[in-house]
């Protein structure tokens, strides 16, 4: 407290003005230090950042955008919560009332819906950016794991939120989505029972999902996000991009965070808020008729981000498609920074020139091979019928899985022998190949699967009855 503010002849208005407006820039070191410590922005960011990390095309602002979306979701979520009762059929009526009776109700719901879906996309893109620039490598392993944890929480948040409108879309997507759980051996059934609160999606499920959606998941995301931010600084800030030749700049030029970084953050946030508001004003979030357990749509599809897994279920035994492959994938993702530890080319997109070409090769290969394999498996391969006496776990699970894995190893071997690729470039190629395959499978699941989960061209998709 300074003497000035204690002087009695100052008006309260003046005192308020002085407290809320920025002070004159201090001249002594102690006050300058004080100012830095008092600044919220400089709590989050270092005072100076390397100029090269500010390049738009280096980070694409994906982490910041994800954080912005989380804040927007929390804010709109609280308002939605004020207008919502987590019990059928009132839940659906409340969502209808948001549309028909609540001022800005529709806008809030649309914002929440589209932000939630965009958050999944930005989280995954953020993960890709980090992986492509090698930012997951030591010493940033913990932040990579935190990121994967947050991605799972984001998907969980989206999944639990999917049920809340209690319309047909919500009901059946959650029914299909949770049925994937039951394929986990031993704990699958009890886990599904615990989550659903009964044999099928019903009133207890809605309450469970609502509670998770408004308590554990946002709290978890908040906690992990704070830790994530803190760790970014602890691990030495953003990775500093190098030229593709791998030559390190002698001493990276540093600029002050305010205004260089903060200006970009504010502009980025404002631009995305503008996009989101326009989007939410123009495109309404989907809402179908009230949930009816007696009338199932054909096809009944899980939420869009699970359609890659649902597509796998059509080609593999459930244990393989729904449990083994996703677990292997997630495990490999989590182990990545402990395996891929060379740090020479950190900050270079796709590691090197050769890395870029291999990445192109992997994307092209996956784009060609994945649809081909889906068509082959759909119309030609029928192991279960060819080997009638074998258990389906073998004929429909182990055999196709072995063929796919052998195919991937063969491709990898060809790559290794034909070009001088090192291990980290092979890991990169494998990651990109599998990720592209997942994207292709998801697209097939979303746009090409019709009644009876048969393949259709999107423009020939029969209308639902």
């Amino acid at each position: 407290m300074t003497e000035e503010s204690n002087s009695g002849n100052d008006s309260p208005l003046n005192r308020m003005r002085r407290r809320l407006t920025p002070p004159e820039f201090p001249t002594d070191d102690r006050s300058r230090m004080r100012m830095v410590v008092d600044s919220l922005i400089l709590h989050l960011h270092p005072t100076k950042v390397p100029r090269s990390t500010l390049r738009w095309t280096y980070t694409w602002g994906l982490g910041g955008l994800s954080a912005l979306l989380v804040m927007l979701l929390a804010l709109t979520g609280v308002f939605l919560q004020m207008n919502y009762t987590p019990s059928p059929p009132q839940a659906y009526l409340d969502v209808l009332a948001l549309r028909t009776d609540t001022w800005f109700g529709d806008l809030l719901r649309n914002l929440h819906h589209w932000s939630a879906n965009l958050l999944i996309v930005t989280s995954v893109l953020h993960l890709l950016r980090v992986f492509f620039t090698g930012a997951h490598r030591p010493p940033r392993e913990v932040n990579w794991l935190l990121g994967i944890g947050m991605l799972l929480l984001v998907v969980g948040g989206n999944f639990t939120g999917y049920l809340l409108p209690w319309d047909q879309l919500a009901y059946w997507a959650i029914t299909v989505g949770t049925s994937i759980l039951t394929y986990i051996p031993v704990i699958g059934q009890p886990l599904s029972g615990l989550l659903l609160g009964g044999p099928e999606v019903g009133a207890p499920t809605l309450l469970t999902f609502y509670s998770l959606h408004i308590s554990f998941i946002p709290l978890g995301i908040l906690a992990l996000m704070s830790y994530h931010f803190w760790r970014v600084r602890k691990d030495g800030g953003l990775t500093i991009p190098k030229s593709a030749s791998g030559r390190e700049e002698p001493a990276p030029e540093r600029v002050t965070t305010i205004p260089h970084l903060v200006r970009r953050e504010v502009v980025w946030a404002a631009a995305w808020l503008a996009i989101l508001f326009l989007w939410a004003m123009l495109i309404p979030a989907p809402l179908e008729g009230i949930a009816d357990p007696a009338v199932s749509p054909n096809p009944a599809k899980a939420p869009w981000y699970f359609l890659g897994i649902q597509e796998l279920l059509l080609h593999f035994h459930p244990l393989v498609g729904a449990v083994i492959i996703p677990t292997l994938g997630l495990g490999a993702l989590a182990l990545m920074p402990f395996y891929d530890i060379h740090t020479e080319n950190v900050g270079v997109y796709f590691r090197s020139y050769r890395g870029r070409y291999i990445s192109l090769l992997a994307v092209g290969g996956a784009l060609l091979l994945t649809p081909l394999w889906v068509l082959l498996d759909e119309y030609v391969l029928d192991w279960a019928a060819w080997l009638p006496n074998w258990p389906t776990l073998l004929s429909n699970g182990a055999i196709p899985l072995a063929i796919v894995l052998l195919g991937i190893f063969a491709l990898d071997e060809i790559l290794r022998r034909s070009f001088r690729v090192n291990t980290e470039e092979r890991v990169l190629a494998l990651f990109i190949f599998l990720f592209t395959a997942l994207v292709v499978l998801t697209i097939i699941g979303i746009f090409f699967r019709g009644p009876g989960m048969a393949l259709y061209w999107p423009w020939e998709m029969p209308a639902l009855h």
């Binding site: 549309r99 529709d106 020139y353 990445s359």
Partner: protein
């Protein structure tokens, strides 16, 4: 002239200002529009509710209250101004809990009925805001119009014969009462309809007289069966009970069905087949299997639930808001009846589930239609009279083979008609396929070229 140089910083700040301005003006405009948006949303929601309610009404209410809510017999009309202005709460209560002493059962799930709170709310809003003209159309289109002679008349000769039997007086009274009160739901000769079970049945006769009497007097909660205690006196109930227990003594045809099936002859079938191929096959498929434009007709459940009269009504009046036109403008009644007879001829061989054939003709021709052989109903299986000359020919058995039996339970219920594969492609499929292959190959080629250069 000096070249204009704009600093990136300037662009960023400008973008920020533009974005902020967009958000502010966007929210302002949205707020300005919000009252009218709310009104539109309310109107749209009311339309959705009424639409749902009309279907509910057709399935649950029309049989007693009439297709247009005009009321039938003792059952009150619903399309009255009094109900439109009355308190919605009291209408909700009546629908939910029923009206004691009348034929109105309780409909809410809580009280053992089939309807949820939400559905009852929809019905109330139909009764208070409804367009009864549209409701009537819906009821007719669903083939659920109440039979016009809601009350049948017992055959007087048989009635006289029965009365002469020992203790036949009660039986005859029972039949008269049945023809007056029960036939609409329980069907001609107690054979049952889609609305209510058969009563002329050994399992009914096996029940104790007490149980049957209780059902007659008190009704069955959660079904259309009302308690008749108030409407009929003890003597009448006793007569109906007598009929339940002694129906096997009543000769067939005592209580004729109010609905006469359409007579089918070989000529009418040929005419129907010709007309069907010319007018209906394009959308409903050559053998009624349906297409993306129109639902399948050749399904057992549909044919079993839809009487000839309903088929005739649908063809004559069309289905509003769909591509089904009103054929009454173009065809005479006899022609429409011939088509109905032809469609009915599928019933014995109709598959349990719809098997729409995806007739994917060559893309330069559009969809093709394959020839089909009509089939006369074989005796006894259906309602229609059948000439002895009829030679049943299987339909739909040799259409094509199952395809797409992928692993993991992806068996497709769709039957794909065999055409050379190159004829089944259309330009968009080719474009998409080539696009993906081209893009992927381009990436692979660029990558291979780069890698080779790096290897050198």
């Amino acid at each position: 002239m000096k070249p204009i140089h704009i600093k990136p910083r300037t662009i960023e700040i400008l973008a920020g200002i533009i974005a902020t301005a967009m958000i502010v003006t966007g929210i302002a405009l949205y707020a300005w529009n919000e009252p009218s948006r709310l009104q539109q949303a309310q109107a749209a929601q009311l339309a959705v509710d009424l639409d749902g309610a009309m279907t509910l009404y057709a399935h649950n209410c029309a049989v007693c209250h009439g297709a247009a809510g005009e009321g039938i017999g003792a059952n009150p009309a619903l399309s009255t101004p009094a109900l439109q202005t009355s308190d919605p709460e009291s209408i909700t209560k009546i629908i939910s809990r029923g009206l004691y002493g009348s034929a109105m059962p309780a409909w809410s799930l809580e009280d053992g009925g089939p309807l949820s709170e939400y559905q009852i709310d929809q019905l109330v809003s139909l009764i208070q805001n409804g367009d009864w003209q549209a409701t009537q159309e819906r009821v007719v289109n669903l083939g659920l119009a109440p039979l016009i002679p809601f009350v049948s008349e017992a055959d007087p000769e048989i009635l006289a014969g029965l009365a002469a039997l020992p203790e036949g007086g009660a039986l005859a009274t029972g039949i008269s009462l049945y023809a007056e009160n029960c036939v609409a739901c329980h069907g001609a000769d107690g054979a049952g309809t889609t609305l209510a079970p058969a009563l002329n049945d050994p399992t009914v006769r096996a029940q104790s007289a007490e149980a049957l009497e209780r059902t007659l007097r008190l009704g069955v909660a959660g079904t259309l069966m009302a308690g008749w205690e108030k409407a009929l006196d003890d003597e009448q109930i006793a007569a109906l009970l007598e009929l339940m227990l002694r129906w096997d003594e009543v000769p067939g045809g005592a209580i004729p069905a109010p609905d006469e099936p359409i007579l089918v002859t070989e000529e009418s079938l040929a005419l129907g087949s010709e007309l069907y191929t010319a007018s209906c096959a394009n959308c409903h498929g050559p053998t009624g299997e349906g297409s993306q434009r129109a639902p399948s007709l050749n399904v057992r459940s549909y044919l079993a639930e839809t009487p000839d009269a309903a088929l005739q009504q649908i063809i004559t009046l069309g289905v509003p808001e769909t591509s089904m036109p009103a054929w009454g403008d173009r065809l005479i009644e006899a022609q429409i009846q011939a088509i109905v007879g032809f469609i009915r001829s599928w019933e014995p061989t109709a598959p349990e589930v719809a098997q729409p054939v995806r007739v994917r003709g060559p893309w330069w021709q559009g969809s093709t239609s394959a020839g089909s052989s009509p089939q006369l109903p074989s005796g006894g299986a259906t309602t229609s009279a059948s000439p002895d000359t009829a030679q049943p020919t299987p339909v739909g058995g040799d259409l094509g083979k199952h395809q797409g039996s992928g692993a993991g339970g992806a068996n497709s219920p769709w039957v794909v008609q065999e055409l050379p594969w190159y004829q089944t492609l259309d330009p968009r499929s080719i474009a998409l396929g080539l696009g993906v292959v081209f893009l992927a190959s381009l990436l692979v080629l660029v990558a291979l070229r780069g890698l080779r250069r790096l290897n050198r």
